[in-house]
């Protein structure tokens, strides 16, 4: 394999991928489930998430094809997605998700 696979997308609809090893700032990694390379902005430990699509503030963070949280600030591609820029869902979010009858990006 020419380019090592650094992260895994669990669902094609996801906007984040999971780092399969410690990702170093500046390196370009290929992602299982996605075409092309993604440049890592800041180091990301294995098991943590990297943004593979830009996520705007207040937009859903999608993993497993489902909404796992809401971005509290705009997250560019290649950035670490974690507690500093994502919050859990509250009751209103869930009702909204249910009403829309499905997850869309």
């Amino acid at each position: 394999m020419e380019q090592k696979i650094g992260a895994l997308m669990l669902n094609s609809m996801d906007n984040v991928a999971v780092a399969l090893e410690n990702l170093k700032a500046g390196e370009s990694i290929s992602i299982q489930g996605k075409e092309g390379l993604v440049k890592v902005f800041k180091s990301i430990p294995y098991g943590h998430k990297i943004a593979v699509h830009p996520i705007l503030k207040d937009e859903k963070v999608i993993k497993y094809g489902e909404c796992m949280g809401i971005a509290t600030e705009t997250i560019p591609v290649g950035h670490h997605v974690h507690v500093s820029n994502v919050r859990g869902l509250n009751k209103e979010d869930k009702t909204a998700v249910t009403l829309k009858g499905g997850v869309e990006k």
Binding site: V18, Q32, G33, G47, Y64, E66, C67, M68, V97, T98
Partner: protein, 385 residues
Amino acid sequence: MKFFKGYRRSDGSIGVRNHVIVINTVGEVASLTKKVAQMVPGVIPIVHQAGQSQSLEDIEQTMNALLGTAGHANVSGALILGMGQDDTAEEIVKVLKNKGRHVHSINFNKTQSISEALREGKLWLENAKERSENEPTEMADVSELIIGLECGGSDAWSGITANPAIGAFSDSIVKDGGTSILAETTEAVGTEHILARRAVNEAVGQKFLDIVKRYEERAWAAGENIRSANPSPGNKVGGLTTLEEKSLGCIKKGGNSTLMEVIDYAQRPTEKGFIFMDTPGYDVESVAGLVAGGSQIVLFSTGKGSPTGSPIAPVIKIGTNSKLYQNMPEHIDINAGKIIDSYLSIEDIGKEIYEKVISVANGEVTSSEKHKNQEFSIWRLAETM
């Protein structure tokens, strides 16, 4: 079409094993249960400490678990040991005999000496064993399989490798007309809206929301707020950001299929397809419930390495990382860690699981069977009276 060779039972169910078991109805006869099982090679003792001085809800739950276990499709013959005059052993035998199953009860009471009772048990088991050895197998379609889905000793990789791979398998067998049962209500807190949305109708969705709510209230009564305690600091270090993300990692064992039915502990599903059973996250009790509900095989993902199995159902252990597989090969059947280091896809491991399920249904011995991990315990709902 995928097929396996199984044992057709008189009630129409089909087993992937042909066990002869002895099971107690009350804890007081647990020692005698082990004693009588030891008299006949190959007989499996199933012992527990439930059944005595219980509240109504536990009496019912114990009865369901015992009925489901003794009458399981993987069981060829069951000897049920009880005590006293009005014991549940006779009740269980009555129900199962009505379905044509090969069962017998012995009640220890004062009409028969203990040595006579043990002799009677030994004779019955010897016959049952011989009878089981002459039972034929027949080809059956995977649509007749019920597969329980469980996790225990999870780690940071559980939600990334093993659980999604189990989910991929679950979607495949559901597509083939089979049944998979997701369990562990505790693990679903935070994602109940997602599974409820996948329910086939509103009633099923509402039942699911109700059991999750009941669970949270129970934990709250014991001083634990599941929502604020999760993800734990350790989870966050591992990369989990929100409760939803953590729970999604668990419930994804159920893939993306439509939720057809929500059933109580140790109950048999009446629908095919993707099912949810209300069980605790405590893996041994959850597996006992899944098996009593008819699961012929259980898939069990583990990250830290858990050896536990079931007395009557083969449990297939799916390790979440390759290090675990190298360290504890004796307890792991499938290494989902290949998703991390061999760049296999989730679907690849899902296929490997499916092939393993068929092979195990045809008789391949799993690691938990090989090591006689026959743990069994019934979920309790009240203090003993």
